[in-house]
């Protein structure tokens, strides 16, 4: 996707009467065929056997893990005795970490609901369909919006002392700034790459970083009373 876009493919609004796919030739260049028909192979046996092999390798790995490591089991459930800390399954520890900072309505309900909604709307997101760098068009206005949003978010996290979420946020803000001051004409290939990334890429990457950071911290760095512990000192 680092290539410069020479044409834009889209679905016509009146698809019933018109052909489904139309190529709009821009004024900048003349039309040019860039992709030939690809080589295809039979699903059976070429694809199916590869699929089977992949699954077998995975199954074998899991079988050996199951042979070597026992699944955890603790004492009989005892409602009168709360373990400290009481941890949720690991994939919810990011949420539990957020619950440490925010009221349950925000961290437990609002945040996951927003995430799910965001995931659902991604394919319908206009900017995303264009697959265009976030700062390519209308740069000054978008830059201003970016500063306001990034600043507000960082300040918000700082105020609530959510440093574990602030760090991944800054890790996204910095390359986004670099992207804002780069363009397709930049010398460095890294900057060209960054400049081409659309907004959805940045949001998703931010989500990925937050997910990894919060889950890792909830899993390894939290001890009794949800206090900070170093796993290697336990």
């Amino acid at each position: 996707m680092s290539d410069r876009k020479d044409f834009i493919a889209g679905v016509d609004s009146n698809a019933k009467r018109e052909p489904r796919r139309v190529v709009f030739v821009t004024r900048r260049t003349s039309a040019q065929v860039r992709v030939t028909d690809e080589e295809v192979v039979q699903t059976f046996p070429e694809a199916l056997f590869r699929v089977a092999i992949a699954i077998e390798v995975l199954a074998m790995a899991l079988v050996w893990i199951a042979l070597g490591f026992n699944a955890p089991l603790e004492g009989l459930a005892d409602p009168s005795h709360t373990p400290n800390p009481a941890k949720a399954p690991w994939y919810f520890l990011g949420l539990q970490e957020l619950l440490h900072y925010f009221p349950p309505t925000v961290a437990g309900v609002l945040a996951p609901t927003l995430v799910v909604i965001a995931l659902i709307v991604i394919p319908y997101f206009n900017i995303n369909v264009e697959a265009e760098g976030v700062f390519v068009k209308d740069r000054p206005r978008r830059l201003a919006i970016f500063y306001v949003v990034a600043g507000a978010l960082s300040l918000f996290l700082l105020l609530f002392h959510v440093y574990v979420a602030l760090v991944p946020t800054l890790m996204i803000v910095v390359p986004m700034l670099a992207a804002a001051y780069s363009s397709a004409e930049s010398r460095s290939p890294v900057r060209r790459y960054l400049a081409s990334k659309p907004l959805s890429f940045w949001i998703m990457t931010w989500f990925l970083f937050e997910l990894l950071a919060l889950t890792a911290i909830g899993t390894f760095f939290r001890g009794p009373g949800w206090s900070w512990v170093w796993p290697w000192r336990a």
Binding site: E38, T43, L48, L58, A71, L76, I120
Partner: protein, 258 residues
């Protein structure tokens, strides 16, 4: 070897075999297409795929592997159900008996547990891989939503299964998790009650989670997985518009056949 292969050929030509597998013998393109087209399960796949999409680097086979963990989970899960009563405190002693008296019981439980973790991990990995490849773009936007639904089903499957051993780990993880539901404005407590079948994690919750885990959620997952696969075929196979199409504008020579 040759004779055994001949016997096998004979078998495949037999009436019984042909009555089951109508595609018949032979390595022709027709026969191989028929294998896909005439099988109720395999016809979810396209007859032909782009050779480039078979490379590991393209998809990392993450969707395939997720499906693999699901199959492992279904098969081990069914075996585990043979030894398990969803009642208090029998559930816990059943888990213990799996470890102490059932032949390979501990292995089954281990495999089920680790595969469940692997599945959650792989679902997330699959999602991010699809996103970064841009494979959610039209016309695949609905299949992306099916994927999000499958992600939620996977999380629920894992979460409901977490309670079943009825140990301290299970009990408190579910207590912590279900309390989040109470935070939903206005109807939080109702949701919490509906989820647990009571105000606390108790025998009702165990039964409810058991039914969800062994019946409702796996069926839902199977239906959505079928749709997910079917839609890949209908939406034109695996998404190929990646950053490096083997285009003629590429100066590199065409890749050699494997």
């Amino acid at each position: 070897m040759v004779t055994s292969a001949n016997y096998f050929d004979q078998l495949r030509k037999s009436r019984v075999w042909r009555s089951i597998f109508r595609s018949g013998t032979g390595a022709s393109t027709l026969h191989r297409s028929l294998v896909i087209q005439q099988d109720v399960f395999l016809h979810l796949f396209p007859t032909k795929v782009r050779r480039r999409m078979l490379n590991i680097g393209v998809t990392w086979y993450l969707g395939t592997l997720t499906f693999g963990t699901f199959m492992i989970l279904v098969s081990t899960g069914i075996l585990l159900m043979l030894y398990y009563h969803p009642s208090v405190p029998q559930a816990y002693s059943d888990t213990k008996d799996l470890q102490f008296v059932v032949t390979s019981g501990l292995f089954l439980r281990n495999l089920h547990r680790w595969s469940a973790h692997a599945m959650v991990f792989l679902v997330f990995a699959h999602m991010f891989r699809v996103f970064y490849r841009g494979a959610y773009r039209p016309p695949r936007e609905f299949n992306w939503i099916i994927g999000v639904i499958l992600l939620l089903i996977t999380l629920l499957l894992s979460y409901t299964g977490y309670l079943l051993p009825w140990d301290q780990l299970a009990f408190w993880a579910i207590t912590v998790g279900s309390n989040i539901a109470s935070a939903v404005p206005l109807i939080g407590n109702k949701i919490h009650f509906l989820l647990l079948g009571g105000n606390f994690v108790n025998a009702n919750a165990l039964l409810r989670f058991y039914v969800l885990h062994c019946m409702i959620l796996p069926l839902a997952a199977m239906v959505f997985i079928a749709i997910h696969f079917w839609r890949i075929r209908k939406d034109g196979g695996l998404y190929s518009h990646s950053s490096q199409p083997p285009a003629i504008s590429d100066r590199s020579a065409p890749k050699e056949d494997r």
